[in-house]
């Protein structure tokens, strides 16, 4: 029993269950499977983004440019679709992944080759990518009526009773699970976060791994760009403005240590779900959505406090302190 309680995913799952329980006392229909499936679908994009951010944070870096990447890529695919409706959706998704990859690679190169701290690089590209969206679109919006039915319909189509968007999220979660637990790259990512110096001596190329990690988060940003635009059917410069902090918040609630090295795929997914349930539940139980920010803010602070305790128990902080001296 004690061994199970050590996993923070269990705690998060319990917290989510309690949250759903509390909501259902006010609004019983919230807990029925159909609605929960809906909540999962609504949170899919945040989950995908949180996973991309997770691999970056695990290596002691941060990607603040993800939401801007999403905005830029979304605009690219929306404009492509408006101009050439014949382009099939799978090809558009590949294009979105490629555009996102390029933007992520720019971040990665600057971090890798010039050794600029990632927070500075992505702070810069955060504004550059969003500005580039404006230059690309000339400030114009791409509305629903300019998008092809396929573009909008693809992620809404049901497969085995579940929307494609949810399937994409499940696929991404599975891929990340394999990446983090079954591959050498996943192990290197954890190793760099726990101790970069030791990783070098074990033959891990820290700079190159960081580059790859930024490429991954870039591709995730790009994929989310298509998903976001086709879901909310409007592409503008304002899309996902400030969302980078929601993504990081989901990671933090999910128990991913901002100091690197600690975190799991399950944690990131549950952290995103937690935020998603809050934002879905507020209107249902008649709380004004204006409360949302304050509630998620409190949740983040609470999560950090719990995180810090968990990390202290694991003793990793002590190791890090010795290393810092």
């Amino acid at each position: 029993m004690k061994a199970i309680l050590k996993y923070r995913e269990i705690w998060l799952l319990a917290a989510i269950a309690v949250l759903i329980g509390l909501i259902s006392t006010r609004f019983p229909a919230f807990a029925n499977p159909g609605n929960l499936r809906q909540v999962f679908n609504d949170t899919s994009i945040l989950m995908i983004l949180a996973l991309g951010q997770m691999v970056v944070i695990l290596t002691r870096s941060i990607d603040l440019s993800m939401a801007s990447n999403l905005c830029f890529t979304g605009m690219v695919v929306a404009m492509l679709n408006a101009a050439h409706p014949a382009i099939p959706i799978p090809l558009l998704i590949v294009i979105a992944l490629a555009v996102g990859l390029v933007l992520g690679a720019i971040n990665g190169l600057l971090v890798w080759r010039l050794n600029i701290p990632s927070i500075v690089v992505t702070l810069g590209t955060l504004t550059i990518y969003r500005g580039a969206t404006f230059v690309l679109s000339g400030g114009a919006w791409v509305n629903a009526d300019k998008m092809s039915p396929d573009f909008i319909g693809f992620q809404r189509a049901a497969f085995l009773g579940v929307p494609v968007l949810s399937w994409i999220a499940i696929l991404v979660i599975a891929l990340f699970f394999v990446l983090m637990t079954r591959t050498a790259l996943g192990r290197s990512i954890y190793a760099i976060g726990v101790n970069p110096t030791a990783s070098v001596y074990t033959g891990i190329d820290v700079g190159r791994t960081k580059f790859i990690v930024f490429c991954i988060s870039g591709m995730i940003g790009g994929l989310s760009g298509y998903l976001w635009i086709s879901r909310y059917v409007i592409a503008s410069v304002e899309v996902a403005n400030g969302y980078e902090l929601n993504i990081i918040a989901a990671c933090v609630i999910g128990g991913i240590s901002i100091a690197g090295g600690i975190g799991s795929v399950g944690g990131a997914v549950l952290g995103a779900l937690f935020l998603g349930i809050i934002s879905n539940a507020l209107p249902v139980i008649n709380i004004s959505p204006f409360w949302q920010m304050a509630i998620s803010g409190s949740a983040i602070i609470l999560a950090v406090v719990l995180n810090a305790r968990g990390e202290r128990q694991q003793g990793r902080i002590i190791l890090r302190k010795i290393e810092a001296v």
């Binding site: 010039l114 702070l123 550059i128 033959g203 918040a249 204006f290 509630i295 803010g297 810090a308 810092a324």
Partner: protein, 334 residues
């Protein structure tokens, strides 16, 4: 190429960012002066309206408010911490000032509210970070949502207006000819913070903490207390900035000062403060604030939209930081 054979430098060893071009003739501040002069020259050629005392005075409003926060933020970042909640503090302080106005408060009360709320929010951040030993980047992401969330709860989609006429002084008045009150405050704060950081033992301790918190602790520096004071200072400056912004706009919306936190941090980093802590100067921050004001104002005169200006700020940030590194690579041949 060298990444495999050379382990990354431990955090406490001053990064190569800290002393850019130190082997060459230039200091970071000199580099910033050159950039400022260049942009100033480009601006004056690009627009006939630029070299006008009144328009130059307008320019100062582009950086004074954020610059005031940037001074305190510089100290905080030098000490190895960060505060992402500054813009949210501005919003919360402004909202509470707006509430007080609805209750009929006079100007001095409003200013007091701004300062006290700012200080209180800063102290809250400081307590969370120092007492519980939490990473400030996450704590302040949380309080950022929390503070702005409270502003949203209070205001909803409303706006507060009806600030007293005397309140307009702080954000709109000129002390002498074209010298605004905001500019005077900015310059005064620059001197105060310069003195604090570069001429007092407190400032030396801030650097010491940023370079090596453990060593600082062992040499008798009360790391927790100094960090707490720095968070309070950042909150205080945000409160003061909130008074100025609210006064200049004459209204409060919950979205006030949105995105300022990143602009303030950009100013600090552009000013040569190492994001890893332990290095930086107030002169650099003043210059960076001025450069950012110049860029946005000059582009504004050319009718470049705000979002495109941000491209230039972002590029400027990356290029200026990358420049010394590229320069060294080219000279060193490594």
């Amino acid at each position: 190429m060298t990444d495999i054979t050379r382990p990354p430098a431990p955090r406490h060893i001053p990064d190569r960012l800290d002393k850019p071009l130190s082997s060459a003739i230039f200091s970071w501040e000199a580099l910033l002066v050159i950039i400022a002069v260049l942009i100033f020259a480009i601006n004056s050629f690009a627009s006939p309206y630029f070299l006008d005392p009144y328009s130059l005075s307008d320019l100062t409003f582009n950086f004074t408010e954020k610059g005031l926060i940037a001074f305190a933020m510089a100290l905080l970042i030098i000490s190895g911490e960060i505060d992402l909640s500054v813009a949210a503090i501005v919003a919360l302080a402004s909202t509470l000032m707006g509430m007080a106005v609805q209750a009929g408060a006079a100007t001095p009360v409003l200013v007091l509210i701004g300062i006290v709320v700012g200080l209180g929010c800063g102290a809250f951040n400081g307590l969370l970070v120092t007492r519980l030993g939490l990473p400030s980047i996450v704590v302040t992401i949380g309080t950022m949502s929390l503070f702005r969330g409270i502003a949203f709860i209070i205001l909803g989609d409303q706006a507060y207006k009806g600030y007293p006429e005397s309140f307009a002084f702080f954000g709109q008045a000129y002390v002498w000819w074209v010298v605004s009150f905001e500019l005077v405050l900015f310059l005064t704060a620059a001197v105060v913070y310069w003195f604090l950081l570069h001429r007092t033992s407190f400032g030396r301790r801030v650097f010491a903490i940023g370079n090596n918190p453990v060593a600082a602790q062992f040499s008798g520096v009360r790391v927790g207390r100094i960090k707490f004071i720095l968070f309070c200072l950042t909150g205080l400056m945000s409160g003061i900035a909130s008074v100025l912004i609210t006064s200049r706009l004459g209204s409060t919306r919950p979205s006030i000062a949105q995105g300022y936190e990143l602009e303030v941090i950009t100013m600090v980093v552009l000013g040569g403060v190492s994001i890893l802590g332990g290095a930086g100067s107030i002169a650099g921050v003043v210059l960076a604030a001025f450069i950012m004001g110049l860029v946005t104002f000059g582009l504004g005169l050319l009718n470049v939209p705000g979002i495109v200006m941000s491209i230039f700020i972002g590029l400027l940030l990356i290029i200026v930081i990358a420049l010394p590194i590229v320069w060294r690579r080219l000279r060193g041949g490594r």
